[in-house]
Amino acid sequence: FGKPVFTLAKLSSVDAPWVADSAVTDFVPKGYQLDKSGVPTFRYFLGGAWVEDAVRVSNNGEGVTREISIKDATGNYFARLAEGSAIEEGGNGLYLVDGKSFYLRIEDAGGAKPVIRDGNGSKMLLIPVQQKLRYSIIF
């Protein structure tokens, strides 16, 4: 995290090179739905799948939580949650990236397991997204 790059991609496998195309040509924006407090949930097509993508303040105010849900996926979708020279696992689904002062916490991946692998000359944290992914960035 910390970089303005697209989080989701359709890959042939978890080891396939990450999508280099920053324009994300198979992305079709479809606007957003506001909740009762006027906070948007973004909606878009990505590679033919329908995605709903919402960022909200975490319940206890400890950070921000993002929830992504995918429907009609034809193929394997992965989220690239972090990229850096060092990704440490802190237990309980917590990750520390490059010794920064905030944590990445994977809360609900529908049972999928995250993978730390090499790519783009550094380490990447990927997780398959089958139908749902929820993670938080905690300060």
Partner: protein, 658 residues
């Protein structure tokens, strides 16, 4: 020396003769009826914190008014015609909305980069679903306005894209990404279908009886504003969009190279390698759109020209007047203008299967640039206004007003129809047969515009057309004039200065019609015996027009003999009366008024600068934008103003110095 006396005496005789004609007829001292005697501009109350730089207006089926603004808000106004309308903010956070449409229970708006459907899913009176129907590329240039949408009969929407402008060549419209400089169709499923190109600033899309029309703003390549009928594959003239004509789904196949081979884009550089802005060359061989169409069938000529500076400078919304609304004008079109802050009226007919017709002034005096219009349920007209980024007549930078008819029928030309040998004018009230049968009451001249990369064009190929005869119908409602020298595709200015109404001897509220004669109809010509060929001295206007505010350009008729009298002894101090015909003829009035700030500075303000007469003349020919930094609209060079006239105008401006 001795010869001076004789001409002066002669002129004095002529003057007293013409004065006696003014005084003699047994007419009551009538003021010429004015627009505001029939159509009142009413205020609409707007809450203090609501900023309405109107980009879109639509009346909902229940009578509520939907307003979209350039600030990205959508308001719904309940009881909009009442004294206490209620404003509800329906949506916000959108990107410069320049249109609003209602379809199947939902509002649709065109943002800079997408067509958005606004849905209130939980029925709380505010939109909560902002659905992107389709998005299109934008480069980020400030001029890439996207106008629309307008619902097509098949359920899709039309949207149009303004061009961007060059960095070094800031005067040249260009298309940086598809489909800027295009009109395109957006289906409900998000599919984009490029429809037509050659547009520059297509601010006014209009669906009229199921057909698409649009207006453009005069600028580079577009000599004057006009109303075009837009069929799929049309090319209206501006080259920018041709950049994409090679794309597989482009319905226009003409390439930029093919166009430039026939019309020089004048992309010249000076000795230092800097780009030179093309300016109007007075004595040059030029081409017109008419010439271009002969060589390139893809060219689409306007249905009805709106002569630049006379009928607007930045045309906008086109709407049709519904049945039962605005009396004799129902069924005709109204077109807004963002620069002169007024509305024009257009009558269209089809000749040989193509649209053509006449245009007149209708109502001026709105507080800011007219961009959008929508009908209220009570038959009044909501007018949405904004002038940010441009210069407009009027006191305000934005507005929402209402135009209300008082049910009194003005004496106007209702319609002008082309005839095999001239034109037939239909009036709203019976004419006085004596003035209507007098050929001196009519004047016709025709002209067109250049097709070139310069910003706008002066009128060219101007020819006088002799009115050979007139036949007035028995009921006095129609006058058919036989006119020689008709030219197809040319604009024919038909002036009826001398025609009077039967009951009250009123002159026409708007005495000049501009008819675009794309096709001359076949049919029987008037026989010699059927028409009157009398040519008596012209009727005088009893109310020798007070110097009306220049921005109105409506009812003050200067007659033929009165202007002849005005051309007398030039040695006298220039008066407004002597210079007014020159200001009208050279379209100075489009932007300047004696005392009030309009698109350009007031003459009194210019006089304060204490320029010499020669300096003013030079500035007429080559204005300097840097002299007036607080005015956004650049004055185009006016090399077409004859030297003698420029000097007269300059002398008069100088005389305003205190």
């Amino acid at each position: 020396m001795k010869n001076i006396l004789l001409p002066m005496v002669l002129k004095k005789v002529l003057l007293s003769l013409s004065l006696s004609i003014i005084v003699a007829p047994p007419l009551m001292a009538q003021e010429a009826a004015k627009e505001e005697d029939f159509f009142r501009i009413a205020r609409m109350s707007v809450p203090e914190n609501v900023i309405l730089e109107v980009g879109g207006l639509v009346t909902l089926p229940n009578g509520d008014l939907g307003i979209s603004t350039r600030r990205g808000d959508v308001y719904i106004v309940e009881n909009p015609t009442s004294a206490r309308p209620f404003y509800r903010k329906f949506a916000s956070g959108l990107h410069e909305i320049l249109g609003l449409e209602y379809k199947d229970g939902n509002l649709y708006c065109a943002q800079r980069g997408e067509l958005t459907k606004l849905v209130d899913t939980d029925n709380d009176g505010r939109a909560d679903l902002y659905e992107t129907v389709a998005s299109w590329p934008i480069s980020g240039h400030y001029h890439e306005y996207s106008f629309g949408p307008k619902a097509a009969p098949d359920g899709a929407f039309f949207v149009s894209g303004n061009v961007a402008f060059g960095n070094e060549e800031w005067w040249r419209g260009e298309s940086r990404v598809p489909w800027r400089g295009w009109i395109f169709k957006v289906a409900q499923n998000g599919q984009i279908e490029p429809w037509a190109t050659g547009v520059r600033s297509p601010a006014g899309l209009g669906m009229i009886d199921g057909e698409l029309f649009y207006t453009d703003n005069q600028g580079d390549w577009i000599g004057s504003g006009a109303v075009w009928h837009v069929k799929k594959g049309a090319f209206m003239g501006h080259p920018a969009g041709l950049r994409w004509s090679g794309l597989p789904n482009s319905p226009v196949k003409l390439t930029t190279a093919e166009l430039y081979a026939l019309a020089n884009p004048r992309q010249e550089r000076n000795a230092q390698g800097r780009a030179i802005k093309p300016e109007n060359v007075v004595d040059e061989k030029f081409v017109t759109l008419i010439d271009m169409k002969k060589n390139i069938p893809a060219f689409t000529l306007p249905a009805v020209w709106l002569p630049h500076a006379i009928l607007g400078i930045s045309n906008s919304e086109i709407i049709k007047i519904p049945e039962g609304v605005f009396g004799p004008f129902s069924g005709q079109l109204l077109v807004g203008d963002q620069g002169q802050s007024k509305i024009m009226r257009v009558f269209m007919e089809k000749v040989k299967g193509e649209f053509q017709g006449a245009a007149w002034d209708f109502r001026s005096g709105f507080q800011s640039g007219v961009l959008r219009m929508s009908w209220a349920k009570d038959g009044s007209l909501f007018v949405g206004e904004t002038d940010r980024g441009w210069g407009s007549a009027g006191d305000a930078s934005m507005g929402l007003q209402r135009l209300v008819w008082n049910n009194q029928v003005p004496f106007e030309m209702r319609a002008v129809r082309a005839m095999p040998d001239g034109f037939e004018i239909e009036f709203t009230k019976p004419v006085d047969k004596k003035t209507a049968n007098n050929l001196s009451s009519y004047e016709v001249e025709s002209f067109t515009y250049k097709y070139h990369p310069v910003y706008g064009s002066p009128p060219v190929n101007t020819k006088n057309c002799v009115v050979k005869g007139v036949k007035v119908s028995a009921d006095g409602m129609k006058a058919r004039i036989v006119v020689n020298n008709l030219r197809e595709n040319y604009i024919h200015a038909i002036k009826l200065e001398g025609v009077r109404e039967l009951d009250n001897s009123y002159s026409l509220v708007h005495p000049t019609a501009y008819y675009t004669l794309n096709n001359i109809p076949k049919g029987a010509k008037l026989a010699q015996g059927e028409m009157s060929t009398k040519r008596l001295p012209a009727t005088q206007n009893t109310a020798a027009g007070k110097p009306a505010l220049a921005s109105k350009g409506s009812s003050d008729a200067t007659t033929t003999t009165a202007s002849a009298a005005a051309k007398k002894p030039a040695a006298l101090k220039p008066t407004f009366a002597s210079v007014k015909p020159l200001l009208l003829k050279n379209t100075c009035v489009a932007c300047h008024n004696e005392l009030k700030r309009q698109v350009g500075p007031a003459y009194a303000e210019i006089a304060k600068r204490k320029y010499s007469i020669n300096q003013i003349v030079r500035l007429i020919y080559n204005p300097n934008k840097a002299n007036w930094p607080e005015y956004e609209t650049e004055m185009p060079p006016m090399p077409q103003v004859p030297k003698a006239e420029a000097q007269k105008i300059a002398a008069w401006i100088k005389s305003l110095e205190k």
